[in-house]
Every structure is written in structure tokens, then in C-alpha cells.
Amino acid sequence: MTVPERTLPGKTVPGKTVPKRVVVVGHGMVGHRFVEALLARDTAGAWGITVLSEEPRPAYDRVALSSVFDGADEMSLRLPALDAARVDLRLGVRAESVDRAARVVRTGDGERIGYDELVLATGSYPFVPPVPGHDAPGCFVYRTLDDLAAIKKLCSSGAGVVIGGGLLGLEAANALRLLGLDPHVVEMAPHLMAVQVDAGGGALLGRLVTDLGVTVHCGIGTARVLTDPASGQASGVELTDGTVISASVVVFATGVRPRDQLARDMGVAIGPRGGVVVNEACRSVSDERVWAIGEVACADGVVYGLVAPGYAMAETVADRLAGGAAAFSGADLSAKLKLLGVDVASFGDAHGRTPGALCVTLNDPVRRAYGKLVISDDAATLLGGILVGDAGRYPMLRALVGSPLPADPSALLAPEGAGASGDGGAGLAGLPDSAQVCSCNAVTKGDLLTAITSGAARDVAGLAACTRAGTGCGSCVPALKQLLGVAGVAQSTAICEHLRASRAELYEIIGGAGIRTFTELITRYGRGRGCDICKPAVASILASLHTGDHILDGERGALQDTNDRHLANMQRNGTYSVVPRIPGGEITPAKLMVIARVAEDFGLYTKITGGQRIDLLGARLEQLPLIWKRLTDAGFESGHAYGKALRTVKSCVGSAWCRYGVQDSVGLAIELELRYRGLRSPHKLKGGVSGCARECAEARSKDFGVIATENGWNLYVGGNGGFRPRHAELLVADVPTDELITIIDRFLMFYIRTADRLQRTAAWIESMDGGLEHLRDVIVADRLGICADLDAAMARHVADYRDEWKAVLADPQRLARFASFVNAPAAPDPAISFTVERGQKIPNRPLLPLEVL
């Protein structure tokens, strides 16, 4: 027998069993999952694992690729790192060939790596149809982070065309939209996402994405890619009906093919449409030492293009290598997706292909939702369905597939709260134990209940750790929460491992026990030395309760989060931004000139903020006191842009100038901003005042928004912009100014006392039993009898307010925090440098230590 040549990282110790070696070719999501699954099962260390990754970076969440253009960075897409002690991960190393007889993989750089078992997880490559011009510069595919980087580099403005209106095509269209292009989608089928949804769902999907700025061309092919005669660069596409779309970027998203060249060269059996032919163990039918998982495998004649079946195959092979007998017997192709913010779900027999199947359809143009349920010919069993626009019911409906219908089908499709099963938890309670709740990881309701009742899982994180449920697409997380509720588990509200209390409880403990320091709190009520979760939360509570103290004094300085720590907002290169308060956005030309001179003298980048003030960026730590000396001398004070605190109260010009204004919105905004400045809270707070119903101050997007009426003011609460925009709701109408201020006082103080850490007012009201009605009961009708307390707390805040920056400048000890180095207090950090863009300085992007890899 040939002894394979080995280049193992581990050492051979005489007399000890040498671990068997598995080589994984491909480090995508499925390859990664295989390694995790094998590590989890192989507690004895029987396997040495080598992973070859052609991409220069470890595995990342390819499903969430377009989120890179939506604020996510590469790091946030990365999958959890593999244990470097147990896995030899070779990045940027391609498997060139395999000698099956010798059981050796030869890499691109000529290394020979021996294997006992070989797992192919090479995934797929994008299929590009051979239309003329498809290979011109400016044509792209959409598959890897490198593809995205290439698209981003070329993108400027104008239109971008995506060929293909399936899942990937709409993802690509979203990416182009986030890059600032006007996306066009060209799809040969009569409607979008023809694989997943039917004509009715596709039509609504088309309308919804059109509203989002995507131009949809369905039922038409692409004749050719047009190129610029001078540069050869793609300049658009011509469709088969002669329509021309000018575009700077063309992205092909016309499907994928198994990446099976390595396997073909190895001589193992390949399926008719590609893919390594494998049996139910995911083992090649040609070589028992070769396995294939994910999109490169052809199982029972099918090549699966979704991640969930790939995960199931990865688990199967890991189980087999660990001595188990797991089998992969086809996969459920159910999926819930969010494309351009539009929910699309299809599950089970979505297209009604079962003989005699009946369909119940609900097309609601007002709610902009489409739902279809496919049921058996006796109308007793749910077979599948499609949801577009609102897929909130997906986890419950998908879990019901194959089960008797618990209610009338039309009730199951009705909007939440309207039908008999408006309570999703009740729907879950009615499911059989065999119903799958997490389809990504094939976790059934029974599995979850076992984990809960055995005490192994007490919360969603615990369920994820025990069963992996919720770790894939995440769409079942609400169902997991409901299930915990159904099983009678109270959700843990502990803030972190150090303090087993919620923020609201901590507020009561600190206030009630008169605690003034973190050390006292953690010694009496917690354990360890705290962390970046509990320390800032306690710092905020101490600031709310002890309004006379400076937040940087004594031990408190060490509790403050990144920005509070130096009373400025830390930017990505370690410099800071400075935002002086400009109450209500009103400022004199003389004060504007002070800001301009400070910015010029310190070389700061300037930008107008959304809160009607001016951001000065690029200040070094040691410059902050010098900058603030100039600003405070001119009458400015801290804007608290760095704090979980009141930011601004935005206003329109109001009745002083505006022809439509009915009240003095600027005057009220200034009064409110000065009243609440410096108020520390669970999250940032924003306010707005509009002088008439035209609402130019966008007050309803704020935590508290005031809109003038002929008779006084309307107060709206619980609005926010950000990740999940929400309009504030009317709390009281037509109140005079003094009453208005009293109610806002109580609203803010009640929020500060009872909200969770980093919970904005919107989520706080939503989580309140009784919601807005309850809030009105407490702070207007004083149903709990706490209004006098709330009023007194706010009076204390107003009386004790001092400008934090002025207090720093007056105290040498506080000023000592602003030294750049302990051994060179005023030296600028040589690691910080800038470049110039559009006439202003911006941070130099450093070469990250991580990128040196």
C-alpha cells in the first residue's frame, strides 16, 4: 500500500496514534459548517483538518453579501473563526489537482497534502449567458466579496443593469441601489423570482421593488451588451425588442453552475447538469474516500442552490466521519428572504404541483401583501404556500406543512391580529412536535421543547447553543421566543455575566441603596470586574441619579463608553469629532464665524449634521481641550453628541417668519433643548418642534415631537429614524406650553427609569404592557402615583446642569485625560494621518493588520 506523503502541521509522536487527515477543499459557508460540525463531534481529536480556501479570507456569510453596501463591514459578515489549534486553514491556496490513487491534493503553490478523506465544498460559479459583449470591461458577476469590490470601484452614477430577476438578481439590484445607481432588472420569465413565487406574488413583488426605484423589465431577453467604441467599456444593454438601456455597469445574475472542474479532472462521476454524484451519505459513488457537499454535490439527481441543504449535507458527512450513520435524503426548499426590504417566502409545494391540490389566495392591494396557501384535495392538510410583502406568518405556516390545518385557510392568511390565530404563540402551541421550526438547521419543535424542558436552554441564545436553531437566516427567532413563552420560561433580563439584573432593576437598586460607585455595586450585587456592557449602563444610571457629579470624576471615568470617555465622538481612525450645541438650530453669524475660525485653525473637516448643527471632525485627543477652550470662550457649550443623552431639538422657522406658522417653534425648541441638555438616558434622545401641521421639522421622526396647532401643541412620542424608521404617535393634543413641558418631563424620566439598555423610546413603548395607553395612564393620569417623583427628578436635573466641557477646562485632573501619551502628553500620534478629498481632510485608510494575512 502506498503511504501518502504528508505535510501535516502536527508532529508524529512514536507510540501515539496519528490523527487521520481530512482535507476540505473550499471554505465557503458549507465547508465552514462541515468543519464546525466535525470539531463538535470529534472530541477525541481523531481528525486532523486542513481547509484550502481559494479566497484570501476566511468564510463569510455570502447570503448577506449586499449588506456590505448597507453599512456592514467585511468583519461583520465573517463566520465564527475556526479553532486555529485544531484546523489548518490555508487562505489563498487553491487545490489544483487530486491524485486519488496516492490520496494527495496538490495546491497551486506545488505543495502536496495527503488525505485520508477528501471533502469537496467548492460551491458554484456564476453562469454567464454567451450574449455578445458579455466579457466587456464593466460586466460583472455577483458572487464574492471581490466581485462586490470590483463593482464598487467602477460605480459612479447613472443606471446599472442586472441580467436576471431571480433571488441573486434582486440582491445585486439592491447592491447597485445602495451604491447610488438606478438599477434595472432584466428577466426572461414573465415575472420576478419565477422559481420561488407564482404570477400573483411576482406581480406584487414587481410593484414593490418598482416603488423602491428599481426598473423591472420582465418577459424579455438580452440581445447584447453595448460597448463604448473608444474605451471598449460596457455602456449598456440592448434587449431583444430593441430597447436600449444605457448603463455604466452590467451584472449577470443568471444562475450558478456547480464548480466541479477539480472533480471532473479527478475522474469521479459527474451528474448530467454537473455536480459530483453522491449517495445518501454525500459520498462520491466513484470513490469512498471522496465526499461532496453543498452546491458542488449532485444528490439524487438534484443540485441544491440554497444554504440550508448544504448545511444538512455538511452535518451528514461530519456525522459519518465521526462514525455515525446520518443520511441526506433531499431537502426542503422553503425559504424566507428579504429582498430590497420586501419579504418573500415560499415553502413546501409552493406551486401547487401535487395532483388535485387546491389554492387559497389573498391579494391585498391596500396592505400590499400577497399570500397563497396550497392545500390537499380534501382541504385538510397544508401542502405549501407563498407570501410576498408580509412574511410574518412564515415560521408558523412552514412548520404546519404536512399537518392538518388548524384553522380556516383564509384566516391563516389574514393580517396579524385580525384572524382567529392572530396570536402566533397559539399557532405554535398547536403544532405537532415533528414540525420543523428552524428549517436552516432542521430543528423541530420537539427538539426545541426538549432543550427547554431539560433546562439546557433558558433563552434564545441557549436554544441556539443547544440546537443551532436561529443561527441560519434568523427568521425563526420570533418563533423561538414564542416557544419559550409557550413553555413558560421567563426570559432572562440580566444585563451581562457580571450583573444578574435588568437595567430597570439596576436603576432601582442603585437609587434605592444609594450606591455611588461601580465597585460598591458589583461587590454587593454582582461578580467579576464588569465589562463594556454593564459599565456604561451603570455610568448612565449614576449620571441620571447623581446629577451634580461630573461623569469623568473618580472611578466613573473608567466606566464611560468610547465617546463619553473623552466627551467627543471617536472616529474610525482614533480622532474625534466636536459638536458644539446650537439650540434649536438657531445661530448668529458671529458664532458661525467662531466655528469657522476654530475649524480652520485646527484643520478640521466640517459637515452640517441632520440635527441642525455643525460637526467638526479630525481632532486629535490632545487638541480637544484647546478646541473647547476657544468654543467655550465664545459662549458655546457641549452638544452631547457623544452621549446617550439628549442630542438636539430640531425646529422649523415657525411663526416669526413663516407665512404658515401658527406658533413660535424655534422658541419652544430652544427652551426644550436647554431644559434637557445633558440628560443621560438609556439611548440617545432626539426632539423636534414644528410650527404648523406641514411638519417641516420632521418632529414625528423624533423620540418626542411637538407640532403646533391653532390652540396649543400636539405631543407625539416614540418616533425614530435609523435602522427601523418609525413615526411618533400622538400622546396628547392641543395642550398649552407649561402642560406640554410637564408631560415631556415625565415621559423622559419614566423612560430613563424603566427602559432597557440601548432601547430607544419606540421599542420601550412597544414593549410596555398596554403600550401607549399605559404610558398615558402613568404620565398624564398619574395612575401609578409616581408623577411627583418624576417631576422632582427632572427639576433636579435642570437645577444641577453644568456644562461638562467647561468643568473639564477648569480642572487640571480632568484635563490630564486628554494627553496623547503618558510619556509625551502633547505629542501628536504618528500613527494618525490624513488625506484630502473634495478640499477637506479625511482619515487615511491604514493597511489593516488583518489584510496583511
Binding site: P58, M75, R78, A81, L82, D83, A84, E497, H498, T519, G528, R529, G530, C531, D532, C534, K535, P536, E555, G557, A558, L559, D561, T562, R565, H566, M570, R572, N573, G574, A819, S820, F821, V822, N823, A824, A827, D829, P830, A831, I832, R845, P846, L847, L848, P849, L850, L853
Partner: protein, 125 residues
């Protein structure tokens, strides 16, 4: 080949310049910096100050705490947590901070900086 401990420059910081559980940046002869932390029990740890995720010199401004008893600092930018004893990133096994040996007495903290960190002799205090 001599052992590494000999090929080191010592940078000194007075203990009085450190505040418990608040980091401080120490400028190194190379122009890079170290983040030095004095914990509540008086022990001192020094790691590289450059955040490996952002490339910015900010680790000294992170919140000090513990994870399951091991002393940690959280990056002030991305909140990744690093072990102060080993420099290992506890949220990403592929990343770590360099750790500098520390000798501390009642008055003075002595950091041993490997010579390859110390390209010039300027600025050593």
C-alpha cells in the same frame, strides 16, 4: 542567535501616571504605541495599542473588565474583546494584540519592548 529578552528596550512609566482600570498610551521608540492598563488589584498589563480591526491607535481607550475571570479590554471602536494576559481576541480566534512583558514595582512600570519594535532611540523616557 540570542534570546529575545535581551534584544529589548525598556520603556519606563511612573505608576502615579496610571489610573486604575483606565488605559494609557505609551509612545514607543518606534513611533508606535503600547496600551498600558493598571487593574484594580494594582497589576499592570501592556499590549499593542493598534486596533487590528481598524488600524487605529485606540486600544488604550477601551473599557477594562473581565470575561469569566480573565482580565480584558474591549476595543472602543468595534467592541471586540481582548484578553489582557495573552492579547488574544476572544471574539475572533484569528486576531491578537502583541503583549509586552511588564515589570512593576511600587513607583515605576518597566515595559520590555522587543528591539524590532524600537527602530530609533528617540523619545524613550
Amino acid at each position: 542567535m540570542s534570546i529575545q529578552a535581551i534584544e529589548a528596550t525598556v520603556v519606563r512609566v511612573p505608576r502615579s501616571a496610571l489610573v486604575p482600570e483606565q488605559g494609557a498610551a505609551v509612545l514607543l521608540p518606534s513611533g508606535k504605541s503600547a496600551a498600558v492598563f493598571m487593574l484594580h488589584d494594582g497589576s499592570v498589563h501592556a499590549v499593542g495599542n493598534l486596533d487590528p480591526f481598524y488600524g487605529a491607535p485606540v486600544i488604550c481607550h477601551g473599557i477594562v473588565g473581565d470575561r469569566s475571570g480573565a482580565p480584558t479590554v474591549a476595543s472602543p471602536l468595534g467592541k471586540q474583546v481582548f484578553c489582557l494576559r495573552t492579547g488574544a481576541c476572544l471574539d475572533d480566534g484569528t486576531v491578537s494584540l502583541p503583549v509586552f512583558p511588564v515589570a512593576a514595582d511600587d513607583d515605576m512600570i518597566h515595559l520590555s519592548i522587543p528591539v524590532h519594535e524600537a527602530e530609533t532611540d528617540a523619545l524613550t523616557s
